[in-house]
Structure formats: C-alpha cells, structure tokens
Amino acid sequence: MFVKIEPRSEPSKAMKYLSPLIAAVLMLISGLIIFSLLGKNPAEAFHAFFVEPVNDLYGIGELLIKASPLMLIGTGLAVGFRASIWNIGAEGQLAVGAIFGGYFAIIFYDYSGLFILPLMIAAGAVGGMLWASIPALLKTVFNANEILVTLMLNYVAVLLLALLVHGPLKDPNGYGFPQSVLFGDSAILPVLVEGTRLHLGVFLALGGVIAGWVFLQKSFTGYQMQVAGLAQKAATYAGFKYKKLIWIGLLSGGLAAGIAGVLEIAGPIGQLLPSVSPGYGYAAIIVAFVGRLHPGGIFLSSLLMALLYLGGESGQMNLDLPSAVTGIFQGLLLFYLLAADFLIHYRMRLDRSRLEVN
C-alpha cells in the first residue's frame, strides 16, 4: 500500500463541511452511471431528475413542500443524535401525529374557525411526543435499546393508522374506501402563493428549524446534549442528568415528527389515508446526518433530499424509471457521507518511504 492512513491530531473542520458535498457529488456520479446502465441517456436523465422538477415556480413550491417535513423532523432528530440517542422512529411518530391531528379535523368537520388548525397541530405534537415517550420510558427505566424500540413502534403506528382509517375514522360516505373524509377548509393549511401548492406549513417548518437552532446552539441544555454525545461518562461526572437528556432527545424528535404528520394531512394530502408518508421519517435521518446535525445544514440537506423525491416522481413520469430510484439515491448519499466522514478524523498520505523502496 502506497497510501498511508494516519489519524489527524484534531478533527478537520474543513472536511466536516466538505464531506456532505463530496457525498452529494459521488451520489450524482453513481446515479448517472446507474442511469446509463439502465440504457438511459445520462444527460437526459440528469435533466429529468434534477432540473425538470424545479424549473418553474410550481416546482419550487413542491420542493419546499417536500422539504418541510424533512427539515422539521431532521432538526428534531438532530437534538437526540447529538447526544447519541438514536431515534429511528420518526416514521411512526409522524403517523401518530397524523392520527391525533386528523382526529380533530374529523370531529370538527361541521365547524369552521381559526381554532381548528392550531388544535390539530397541538394534538399532533402531543401524539408524536406520546409515541416517543414509550422508548424514552423504556430506556430510562429498563435500559431497553431505543433503536430497536423506536423501530418496532414504527410498525405498530403505521398499522394503527391503517386500522383506524379502515374502521372508526373511515369516511362513512366514501364507498368503503379506506380513507377519512376530505378535511373542511378550516382544517387545511392555506396556500400562500398563487399558482403553487406552497402552504403555511412551510413557514411553520422553518420556524421549527430556527427554534431548533436556538435550542441547540444557544441553550445550556443544547450544549449538554452535545457534550453527552461526545463523552457520556464525562457528562455524567460533570453532573449532567443523562436521563433528562434521553427524554429531551427522544421527545424533540417525536414533537417534530408529530407536527410534520399534521402538516402532511392538513397540507398536500387533505385527509387521512392508510399511509401518510413516503418514508419521510427514515429520509429525515439521512437529512440530519448530511446536515451535520446542525439546523442550518439540515435546511440545505432537506432541499437536496426533497429534490431526490421530486426527481423520483419526474423520472417515473418521463423516463419510465420506478420511483424506487429515490431510495437508491438516499442510500448512496448516506454511504458516501459516512465514508467521506472518515476523512474528518483521518488523513491519507502517500507513503514515500515505500515508494522509494519499491
């Protein structure tokens, strides 16, 4: 081996911010290779995947709509991830948020008023946090692994939503289709820009990202989360209450995912369906990492991830590619990021001594 790997004396700041870019570029290159292997013209595919979806105002609106749940959930998850609390359960927390929020939209179907939307959002927040409190409780009391518990609760939540939409929350006049009534106007987030579907929820999501930034970068608890993630023992010695941090870490993810669930049903969907998320809860994990667990970075990476979703839809329509391509891109992006992150702590150098010997 002519290349020598050696640890850096301190983590490289430059690599920390460069590695998401490297990952995005590598993902793009791999994507183009996959496209050409599938017999598509790479330039055409690139255009259909990454340019076409956002070349008009409507497209930009769609991008922001898709990015909203991702940035919101990504920020919420980052709070826990910073403290090495691995909440993989945003998908389920989102579903429970949608159930709670949707419930109020349905029972107040015959009413109108400004109280309905805030009530739905608050209910969604409570629902998401309740769902996230299960792993928090089990981890703090029984030391049960939160990765597994959150993962399992995803299935329970998604099945619960399907069960309710097939049963009690089904539209009685819906010809037996598994869906709720279409929400009344008071339960739908208003569209802000004419000619797009851009709705108020986008600003709520941005507000959430800013709130996350204040909490993580400016508050003492946010700082404690960071320290606990780097060195749990040191944090305990310093008198930080790790159990409190576990609760905060998991609940913030649940809060964000629960609200995101309401934004989906009160936004683009407009009713409760058996499935209300195309995997936003999982994608948000990648968003959080690509965004360096920093709300600013998460905002940017949520736009990239949203573009992957839109590109998947556009590729399906224009290139006859399955929308599953989105998942491939998501996976690749994460691999490349994790690989590039290696360069934060290690450097590669040509091993000159070996070169000379050879």
Binding site: L163, G327, G331, L332, L338
Partner: protein
C-alpha cells in the same frame, strides 16, 4: 368438527408455522453472529430484499431453485463485505449505516424487478424433501419431515452455530471480541479479520433468508419482505443472542403468523383483528426487549468501532 379434521388443521398450521419461521431464523442467526462480534447491522431487510430478488430472477431464468439459493447467499456475502468496509474500516455509525443499506436494498430490488421482470411471474418453488422413514410417521411426519431443503438447513444451522460459538477457537474469538476487543487484541486475535468474517457470514445468511422467502412464496414484488428483516433483528434480542433463543423466537413468530393466516382462511376473525395480530410481533418484541434488557447484557462492544490504543 370431527377430531381427525381438527388434527389435520393443527398439523397443517404447525407445519406452515415452521416454514414461515425459516426466513426469520436464517436472518436472525446471521444478525446474532454479527452482534456477538460487536457489530450491529440494521440493514437486514435490505439485504433480504436484494437476496430475494437475485434468487427469484435466477430461478426465473434457470428454473433451478438451488441456483437461486446460491445467488441469494452470494449477494448477501458481497453486501457483508461492503458493510464491513463501511463500519470496520471507515468506522461509520452502525445505528445509521444500516438504514442506508435498507433504503438502498428496498430501492434497488424494486428497480431491478421493474426493469428486468416487470409483471410478476411465478417461479418454481421447492419440492418438499421427505426424510425417509421419519416423514412416514403419523402426525409428526407431516409436521416436521416433509419440508423443503432450506427448512432443514436453517434448523440444522442452530446446533452448528451453538457448537461453533461455544466449542471452537473461532467462536471464542468472536465472543471475546464482542465483549472486550482490547483484551482479545492483546492476545493476538485479529479484531478486524474476525469481525469481517462474522459480518460477511451474517449478511450471507440474510441473503439466504431472502432467497428462501422468495422461492418458498414463488414470487417477487416490491417490498416482498415487508419488514421481516427488522423483526429478525429484534429476534436476536428476543433470543438473548443465543442460537437456541433465536430459534425459539423465530418459531413463536412463525406460529403466530401461521395461526393468523389459518384464521383468515376460515374467516374466524374480522379484518381489524388481523391488523391487531399484525402488530403482535412488534409489540412482543418490545416487551421482550424490556425483559432481556433486565436479565441479559448485550455484547459490551456492540456498535463500538475498535481502534487500537483508542
């Protein structure tokens, strides 16, 4: 209902429970091996899907289910190599990198399926392999000894893995590295090589599990596994990292599924109840996690990358 009819149903239910338990068992044995060496792989479901597609496509082309199994394993072994590189050489966070494998596998298997197959076509499933003499036994014969080869392989792996883990140097090394890699390293055991081998074999078993599923069902479709890979991970905790425990867990899950299927066939339970039953594996798993967390300790070095002198 006559007695003999009842016996027939019970026998059929148990036999189908054993068949349904097989993919769970293969995948969770593989995951247990990896975790014993200190590496968590959350990507099992993605590996299973790729293995399932590979096997399905191979059988579609060759009409030979055994080639399908080989392709399934090979795909798993390759992903294992890749996962080892990411988590061992690059020391990526294990709780997260597996999600990447999952999303990648979910997308890639669907892409391949739509590109190379398109409309679902059934493939030749396994022929049952009756064990001579034993398969002729009343009741027990049909229950245990009239299965396809993959069922015998999966259950045969249980004692084999117990033996390897507890009676061989290699097994001792794996357990030592999962608990205390520093100590094992100082005794001259290569942490890297041992973990690589465990992950590669583990993922190979996940690929085999996917292949077994696709060939048993005789079809492939988008998200064929429907989260079975995640349940398999949970079964490792359920079974407290022992091959026997994992087997018991797999059987419980297989039986629950089989009973639900039978009830559906006979229309005994309404739709909502079968939805509730579908939640059972996840709920049981969470309960098991709580109990296991109290009683058993996970391998101490699980998810921790090993850095010499670090």
């Amino acid at each position: 209902m006559s007695d003999s009819f009842a016996v027939m149903i019970v026998v059929a239910t148990i036999a189908s429970g054993i068949r349904l338990a097989t993919p769970f068992l293969l995948a969770s044995l593989g995951e247990a091996l990896g975790q014993r060496s200190g590496v968590l792989n959350l990507g099992v479901d993605g590996v299973m899907l790729l293995g399932a597609f590979g096997a399905y496509y191979t059988v579609l082309q060759t009409s030979n289910p055994y080639y399908g199994l080989l392709v399934g394993i090979s795909i798993g072994l390759l992903i294992g190599l890749f996962y080892g590189f990411i988590t061992l050489n690059l020391r990526a966070e294990q709780g997260v990198s597996g999600i990447g494998i999952y999303l990648f596998g979910l997308g890639m298997s669907d892409l391949f399926f739509q590109k190379f197959v398109g409309t679902p076509r059934p493939i030749l499933p396994f022929m049952p392999l009756d064990i001579p003499v034993l398969s002729g036994l009343p009741v027990v014969g049909e229950m245990l000894f009239q299965h396809s080869i993959i069922v015998y392989i999966a259950f045969g792996l249980v004692p084999l893995m117990s033996f390897v883990l507890h009676r061989t140097t290699y097994g001792l090394n794996i357990r030592a590295i999962g608990e205390n890699p520093e100590a094992a390293d100082s005794l001259g055991v290569s942490v890297m090589a041992t973990r690589y081998s465990a992950i590669i074999i583990g993922n190979g078993l996940a690929g085999l599990a996917g292949a077994a599923l696709a060939i048993e069902l005789g079809i492939f479709q988008q998200n064929l596994t429907n989260a079975m890979g995640f349940i398999a991970i949970a079964l490792v905790y359920f079974g407290a990292w022992s091959p026997k425990g994992v087997m018991i867990g797999s059987l419980v899950f297989g039986m629950v599924q089989s009973i639900v299927l039978q009830c559906k066939t006979f229309g005994v339970i309404p739709r909502s109840a079968s939805d509730l039953a579908a939640m059972a594996p996840a709920v049981i798993t969470i309960l098991a996690l709580v109990i296991v967390a109290k009683r058993f300790k996970q391998p101490s070095a699980l998810t921790k990358p090993y850095v010499r002198g670090g």
